[in-house]
Amino acid sequence: MLDFILNGKKCTSQLPPQSRLLDVLREEFGLHAPKEGCGEGECGACAVLVDGMLWNSCITPLANVQGKSVLTLEGFRDTEKYKLLEQCFGEAGAVQCGFCTPGMIMAAEALLRQKPHPQEAEIREAISGNLCRCTGYNMIIAAVRMAAERGAGLW
């Protein structure tokens, strides 16, 4: 039994402490936005925020989030910030197959929290742990930039 905060609510996992956080989220709590692209910490499809930092949940043992706050796309998608990102990602054409998207959004959110007005190079670096095979990245970078420009006061 292990307690942590999941999308703003206290919760308790019944799974063993060495379980992968990704499995806990997907199987125990039915949160399907985080995806498994590699299971080895190389693609970022499973990325979530832990106390505001971008973590790959597939290589995070459950025990490591004890007492911490975990945010997945499910806990973020009703916010104003998300709505702006959704609009900008749509306009920029930043979503193709969509499999990398939940992780990308969390990476974008992690960046914008730290740096509401990032330079292009900073955006590249912030999403460099998130692989995308469809878009070639530039349209994602444009989307994050657009959100930063329009998001006055949100971040």
């Binding site: 054409g93 969509g98 469809c134």
Partner: protein, 702 residues
């Protein structure tokens, strides 16, 4: 009417963006079992014995003997669904085990003992002798031309594997409805009817008793054209035997080890030049590594030989192509489908020939490019306008290619050297030859409901390329309806007619045209508030008939065209390169959605550059060595620069609103433009891709 190219938000944007899209891994069915494979550990051998551990209640094992027919239909049917007597590559499936607990299933697989008698294995293309396919065509009098040549130049090129690396691995869920004797299959796939036909044959079920539904699919790039049929059959066999739904979910290493990839190849070219430096004759000898079973290799090879001379007009030609069998993972479809190998070789050859005769790569190309009305290599015709001069003018304006080329041709000193490379390429849209007319005969239905919403019923899929959006825009434009009134759900074979697979850059051009025609019919008989239906069937355009035996005629109804320029800086100490600029100009007919098309170009160009530069995959003793994202590197956001991309409007009458095929074209030019840039920077010729820093350094050392 508003210009159809004006971008809209994608139909599935909000669903995918919010994480609510249901991919195969998100599918949950009551009582669903998890599964794992027992696979061959050797490249070639006879199976002498299989000993299973005791299976706990609720666990099943399926193999070839459980099937009505163990032959997987992929063009031909050499490949078994499960190996029974003989294994032919490392990772070939022997058994599928399924049960309620995945860890237990995996343990049971590990405890299964397979005893083999090892047989000699053919592991490389150079050793291979058995042919999966062979095509040969000639034009003119090649021998005489070579005999008269002022100069003959020969060169051998090689290309490596390329892994599709779709972010979502392969997966399938099968559910057996025992009461009605019906199999339901849900999966990540590009060709619902391929999967359906395979499951029907392997399980001995009729048309009414197999249903295939496409889940939201996390990328395909060809990798989900043929391969899903195999795992669908395996999952379905297990589901039937277990009497419970079964999920097959690969992990990344498994996916990279056992699924189809781009064919490694060896291409030998000989060019005969006259005294004016014109290529008068060309011989190409192309060899693709098919892997253990022929599968799609013959069809892939057709495209390799068809584009062997690239965008150039050469009077005398002799092109011979073989796909050979090795005891390695079978190769299959990947965006470009045999084209990227030939285009890389031909474009590199053009650069090397230009250097030999003292011309710039551009001027030498311009002497040879095809024009409208010219014959194709197989005696077809370029019926439509060939916009190569427009593409070149545009890319010159955007990139200042010629000025930079001249500047970087001056002697360079120091650690960092610059280069700029250009590639020209074409893509034959749709299937090679007469398959549309003779085999597929696609059909599309539009169904209008009483509330005047219109549903598109077709078996083509959106795998990220934006087809739901482009299809819907076509219908909305014809019927003058808002886009929200058009519904385009994922195909379910119980509901949609067979409009063919989503492959070969055919979905928008060929099926999209049917969508447009059906919409026009619907419009002609439109009665508001009434349920109505309109059907459109494929009608072949007037072409020079294709003869597969003679390999002659119009191989494709239309061609898309492109030019790429890559500018970079090479570090002579490390062999690393830094991109300085990437440009692409394309003719895909009329663009149906600017943003969707830009996405195709951005993604395709990066895959092409990855193919030429960093995506290295090899087999050692028949086993894929780079089977994770740690070892097989695909470009990250740090490996790209902002690209500059433009499109030329070149209306194509047989495509919807003038559109042609677009998805594959964008990958073709990256590798040759990249290597050309490195060659200029380094002052060396590099005939092998991927051109990794190690390869650059090895050549520097010489």
């Amino acid at each position: 009417m508003e210009d159809i190219s004006k971008a809209v938000e994608r139909k599935d944007h909000r669903l995918k963006m919010s994480g609510r899209a249901e991919y195969t891994c998100d599918k949950r069915l009551e009582g669903m079992l998890y599964s794992a494979f027992v696979r061959s550990e050797i490249a070639h051998g006879r199976i002498l014995d299989i000993t299973l551990p005791d299976l706990p209640a609720g666990y099943v094992a399926v193999g070839g003997h459980d099937l009505y027919d163990n032959h997987l239909p992929v063009v031909t049917d050499e490949q078994p669904v499960f190996a029974v007597d003989e294994v032919c590559f490392v990772g070939e499936a022997i058994l599928l085990l399924a049960g309620p607990d995945l860890a237990t299933v995996r343990r049971l697989c590990r405890e299964t003992k397979v005893t083999y008698e090892e047989l000699p294995a053919v592991l490389t293309l150079d050793e291979a002798t058995e042919m999966a396919a062979h095509y040969h065509y000639r034009k003119g009098d090649v021998e005489a031309a070579f005999a008269q040549a002022a100069q003959v130049v020969e060169e051998t090129f090689t290309t490596g594997y390329q892994e599709q690396a779709y972010l979502e691995v392969q997966g399938m869920v099968a559910q057996w409805d025992a009461e009605n004797g019906k199999m339901h299959v849900f999966g990540s796939l590009q060709a619902p009817y391929y999967v359906k036909n395979a499951v029907m044959r392997v399980l001995g079920l009729d048309d009414e008793h197999v249903r295939v539904v496409q889940q939201v699919t996390g990328g395909g790039f060809g990798g989900k054209e043929d391969y899903p049929s195999l795992i669908a059959c395996q999952a379905a066999a297990a589901a039937k035997k277990a009497g419970a739904p079964v999920r097959v979910a690969y992990d990344r290493r498994e996916d990279m080890t056992v699924t189809t990839k781009r064919h490694p190849s060896r291409l030998h070219y000989a060019a005969a030049l006259d005294a004016q430096h014109r290529i008068i004759a060309l011989k190409a000898d192309i060899c693709l590594d098919a892997g253990a079973y022929p599968g799609l290799s013959g069809v892939v090879l057709q495209r390799s030989v068809n584009v062997a001379a690239g965008v150039y007009k050469i009077e005398h030609l002799d092109v011979d192509g073989r796909a050979v069998i090795t005891h390695t993972v079978p190769n299959g479809a990947f965006r470009g489908f045999g084209g990227p190998q030939s285009i890389f070789a031909m474009e590199s050859l053009m650069n090397h020939l230009a250097a030999k005769v003292g011309m710039t790569p551009l001027a030498f190309r311009q002497m040879h490019v095809v024009q409208q009305g010219d014959d194709t290599v197989t005696g077809g015709k370029f019926h439509q306008y060939v916009p190569i001069p427009d593409l070149l003018a545009k890319v010159e304006e955007m990139s200042a290619y010629s000025r930079k080329y001249a500047a970087y041709s001056q002697p360079q000193t120091g650690r960092y050297r610059r280069g700029i490379g250009l590639s020209l390429f074409l893509h034959g849209c749709g299937f090679t030859g007469s398959a549309e007319k003779d085999i597929l005969r696609a059909r599309v239905i539009l169904r209008k409901y009483a509330d005047d919403t219109v549903e598109i019923l077709a078996s083509n899929v959106d795998i990220g390329q934006g087809l739901k959006t482009t299809f819907s825009k076509i219908v909305a434009a014809v019927l003058d309806l808002p886009l929200e009134r058009i519904i385009c759900p994922n195909p379910d074979t119980d509901r949609v007619p067979d409009s063919g697979p989503t492959v070969a850059s055919r979905s928008l051009m060929i099926v999209g045209k049917l969508v447009e025609r059906a919409a026009r019919k619907l419009k002609a008989g439109w009665e508001s508030g009434k349920e109505q239906e309109a059907v459109a069937d494929y009608e072949a355009p007037e072409l020079i008939p294709w003869d597969m035996d003679k390999f002659s005629g119009d191989a494709y109804p239309a061609y898309s065209w492109g030019v790429n320029v890559v500018e970079l800086e090479e570090d002579r100490l490390t062999g690393m390169t830094k991109l300085l600029g990437v440009w692409g100009v394309f003719d895909v007919g009329k663009v149906i959605d600017n943003t969707v098309m830009l996405g195709q170009a951005e993604g395709g160009m990066l895959q092409g550059i990855g193919y030429g530069s960093m995506e290295k995959m090899e087999a050692a003793a028949g086993k894929i060595r780079q089977n994770s994202f740690t070892d097989y590197m695909i470009p990250t956001a740090m490996d790209t620069v902002p690209n500059q991309i433009a499109f030329i409007d070149n209306y194509y009458a047989d495509g919807p609103f003038g559109a042609k095929g677009a998805g594959e074209l964008t990958l073709l030019g990256g590798a040759p433009a990249y290597t050309a840039a490195v060659e200029q920077a380094a002052g060396k010729a590099y005939p092998n891709i991927p051109l990794t820093p190690e390869r650059i350094l090895a050549a520097e050392a010489k």
